[in-house]
């Protein structure tokens, strides 16, 4: 048995999926082929809002090779609609379609080409309805309603300071969340200065390189679903509900997932696959093209109005925010995004008086939902840009203004919630030093190309709301171990990191531990892989399961050898009892003699509920995103180039440093996309750039000349050995740091991103002749 010289935790252990992924042997959902498997394709509405008068599918259904056509006429479900928060999304359209791309029907055929041909033979008679595309249109008096009747939805249960307001008339408001403390009106009246701005962020596409896909097999009683999903257990729950079967008759298996970023939380292809397989009694694969993935789910467009009361000496005394999340045609997790954005909107600053209203609003556009950052990038863009406006107005260095108002470690973000668990000021000082904050480059190229630097400091409450997780660790007869957990491997490296935790706890070399496939029939329950929660929430469950297994091994050895448990130690992969050193295998044999047996260790972790905390559950930890950017702006063209970027976040404890760095760098690129390139563009409700030809993703050439990631290990996290979650913080500071750098360079405040050349150029033109750019 190899002796572990250095701690496995903190090592860059090679990812356990390495061999599979670099050789192409790794199985993803689209690689799964079952005997008799059919292919499902979807008919989508060309119109943004229309009543369906008639659907005729007979011609399609009679085509050779077509085994079923699914429409509202033959939907074999107990409940036709699903949703994470509101059950508002029909599996196939019922009385109307609500966005261009909405699912109308589906075909299962022996070949994809046949299924696609059959779609063309389905006749749909639409009666076009007036539509709304923007929040303004949607909230106008007399606006057409995207959803006429209220749907079944979860009742939020907030704590102190947060409320959920119901609007009297039926409107397109899906949720109105409010958070308040102190007296904003009074403090605004008493402030020396008031600053107010509105910021706009577009919708964005997750673009996981693996589009949505699932395979469903039905044996007459039980469903087995293979899915590229982030949330296998909530998926099981929703599929059970809509099909009317018990939870134990739905089995969700998750192979490798080719990127999620929030796009794969909840039902996407699975309800269609389930319905089709029920109709035909054969396995059905439903895979969306990349273009369909664009039209399935997105990051919702947002508008954030922020107003601050500031004293002469730069102290922030009040902040009022009003933000609108354009959730599109169906709610998904949009209401939770609005809630979280609302709670995060005032930023990591000491402000006694806060009032935030966050609205989740329906329109006839692509449905929005969870997206890396979950509402935090939107409000961080607003409050960190806004801070620089205040700094400029007070003629104060933006770094100094942040230092003056930032929460210190241990100070309250909101009374009752977890205090700030890391030193934001120290982090900000680090990035400022790394970008050489005091130094400024003079202009180049005859003065029309200017350089500037900008900072940003943002946080999000990490770990999810009310998350809970179970885990299981088995020690088998030969002393090897199996680890079971429901966190999905979608690139973040969670399977490797959690294996490292078990390796440490059992003192086993990593090769002696195997992570079981994620299969809801065998894997214990988990709430979902999101909110940067796996390392902390599942990490705790796994830690406890490993310790439980170790404890049972100790008591097994103790009873077999007739000694007290205190005399038994687990060390270097062996069991040590006084002078005797036994392998795990020998202990198991001693106890169970010739019969093979196993030890089953279990762990459970749940975030506690608290009535004192605005969202009703304590924030497990604070995920931070601090950044500094240096840009170059060409005033002739409006082109913004990111020259240098420094990112800082806090891992608490890095279980696998290489993976932590990879997650932070990936998160920063999402921020670069948000700040400079990515934008869903609509014309009359039609998404005109649903492919990566016209939707610009960051690429290799967009890497700044200098790109540095710093990861703090302040050990303040709730996960194993002080670990926190990671993976979203890196996104938060990028767009505001870039925009602050642009302001530093050319004195123009950009309040709408991405900073496409033409947008910046127009803002430059509007700002001429010299006028106070606060008014633009």
């Amino acid at each position: 048995m190899k002796k572990l010289v250095t701690s496995i935790v903190g090592q860059n252990l090679h990812r356990i999926d390495s061999q599979e992924k670099v050789t192409g042997r790794g199985i993803y959902t689209g690689d799964i082929k079952l005997p008799g498997m059919l292919y499902g394709k979807v008919l989508r509405s060309p119109l943004p809002h229309a009543r369906i008068r008639r659907i005729a599918a007979q011609e399609a259904a009679s085509m050779s090779g077509v085994l079923a056509v699914l429409t509202r006429e033959n939907l074999p479900m107990v409940f036709p609609s699903y949703g994470s928060y509101v059950k508002d999304q029909p599996i196939v359209a019922l009385e109307k379609v609500r966005y261009s791309g909405d699912v109308v029907a589906a075909v299962a055929a022996t070949e994809e080409q046949i299924a696609e041909e059959a779609l063309k033979r389905i006749e749909v008679d639409y009666e076009e309805l007036p539509a709304v595309y923007t929040v303004e249109e949607s909230l106008a008096t007399g606006a057409p309603l995207v959803h006429e009747k209220p749907h079944e939805h979860r009742e939020p249960s907030y704590g102190r300071g947060a409320t959920h307001l119901i609007h009297e008339e039926t409107t397109n408001i899906c949720l109105h969340f409010r958070y308040q403390r102190g007296d904003v009106d009074k403090s605004l009246r008493e402030a020396d200065y008031i600053f107010e701005e509105t910021f706009l962020l577009p919708g964005a596409a997750h673009c996981p390189l693996e589009p949505h896909v699932s395979v469903c097999s039905f044996d007459g009683d039980n469903f087995t679903i293979w899915s590229s999903t982030q949330t296998p257990f909530p998926l099981r729950q929703e599929l059970a509900r809509i099909s009317g079967v018990s939870l134990n008759r739905i089995r969700v298996i998750v192979p490798y997932v080719g990127g999620g970023f929030g796009s794969k939380s909840g039902i996407r292809t699975e309800a269609l696959a389930l319905a089709l397989s029920k109709l035909v009694r054969r396995p059905v694969q439903v895979s969306f093209s990349a273009e369909e993935t664009f039209k399935t789910i997105c990051q919702p467009q947002a508008k954030v109005r922020i107003k601050s009361g500031v004293m002469q000496d730069g102290t922030f005394v009040s902040r009022q925010c009003e933000l609108f999340v354009n959730v599109g045609a169906y709610a998904n997790s949009g209401p939770m995004v609005a809630e979280k954005a609302g709670y995060r909107a005032h930023g990591p600053y000491r402000i006694s008086n806060v009032l935030t209203d966050a609205y989740c609003v329906y329109t006839n556009t692509v449905p929005g939902g969870a997206f890396r950052g979950f509402g935090a990038p939107q409000v961080a863009f607003a409050y960190e840009s806004h801070l620089d406006t205040i700094a400029h107005g007070l003629k104060v260095d933006p770094l100094k203004l942040r230092m003056k108002n930032l929460l210190g470690k241990g100070q309250d973000y909101a009374a009752g919630d977890t205090p700030m668990d890391c030193d934001l000021k120290a982090g900000l000082r680090q990035v400022a030093k790394a970008i050489e904050w005091g130094k400024r480059d003079s202009g180049l190229k005859g003065g029309k190309v200017k350089r500037g630097k900008g900072l940003a400091c943002a946080v999000k409450d990490g770990g999810g709301t009310g998350k809970l997780a179970h885990s299981m660790v088995k020690i088998l007869g030969d002393g090897s171990a199996l680890l079971y957990f429901g966190s999905v491997e979608m690139g973040q490296g969670i399977r490797t990191a959690l294996l490292q935790v078990v390796a440490k706890e059992l003192t086993l070399p990593p090769e002696r531990i195997h992570v079981a496939e994620l299969d809801t029939q065998n894997t214990p329950f988990d709430k979902g892989t999101n909110a940067s929660s796996a390392m902390s929430v599942m990490g705790q469950a796994v830690l406890r399961a490993a310790r439980d297994a170790r404890g049972q091994l100790i008591s097994t050895a103790a009873s077999a050898l007739g000694v007290g448990e205190a005399a038994v130690q687990v060390k270097d992969g062996m069991v040590v009892v006084q002078e005797r050193i036994l392998s795990f295998h020998e202990v198991m044999r001693l106890c169970f003699s010739d019969t093979e047996s196993e030890i089953v260790g279990k762990g459970f972790f749940k975030i506690p509920r608290s009535e004192e905390v605005p969202l009703g559950y304590i924030s497990l930890f604070w995920e931070i995103g601090i950044g500094a950017a240096e840009v170059e702006v060409d005033e002739m063209t409006g082109e913004v180039r990111l020259l240098r970027y420094v990112s800082l976040t806090d891992a608490g404890k890095m279980i696998n440093p290489l993976q932590c760095r990879g997650q932070d760098e990936g998160a920063v690129l999402f921020g670069i996309g948000q700040g400079l390139f990515e934008e869903l563009v609509y014309e009359e409700g039609q998404l005109v750039n649903p492919t990566i030809v016209d939707y610009r993703l960051p690429s290799f050439r967009d890497l700044p000349q200098s790109f540095i990631t710093r990861i703090l290990v302040e050990a303040g996290g709730p996960g194993p050995y002080g670990a926190k979650g990671l993976g979203e913080g890196g996104t938060l500071a990028v767009a505001p740091a870039i925009c602050n750098a642009v302001f530093d360079a050319i004195g123009v405040r950009m309040r709408k991103i991405p900073l496409k050349g033409e947008r910046v150029w127009r803002a430059i033109i509007r700002a001429l002749p010299t006028q106070d750019s606060d008014h633009s």
Partner: protein, 163 residues
Amino acid sequence: MSREGLTHDSMIAVHFRLNGQECHEIVTPNELLIDFIRNRLGLAGTKRSCDIEVCGVCTVLLNGKAVSSCSMFAFEVNGKELLTIEGLAKRDKLHPIQSSFIEFGGFQCGFCTPGMILLAKALLDENPNPTREEIQEYMDANICRCTGYQMIVESILDAVGKM
């Protein structure tokens, strides 16, 4: 692959080298290379993503040159050498690029990885000692959504030293 209307005459015979071995197959005229690889040859390592020749996820090497298999016809392999990701490692021995990607975090979800590694091989076969800028410019043909690119560049720089 719809077989409606196909006759014996419309099928095309292709003779080529697949991952170093002689291969003889029959393809339909409009069969895409990616479908030929994944379905007929049963090699699932080549993945489908954008399907419109932009992302490079479906990259394979044809006569050593990186091509998007989603936008080529199967018959185009005739008389050529096709290298898919399955052909890179020799039994248990990984290609240096593959082991560098493991060591330096050149992948996360792994979906772009087969195409990315093959593109890197094409680069290093053409230019065995590229600068960081040359790597960025060449690899710009492929998209990654997970890594943030920098660690892919470092993986390739490491592979340079080993090849």
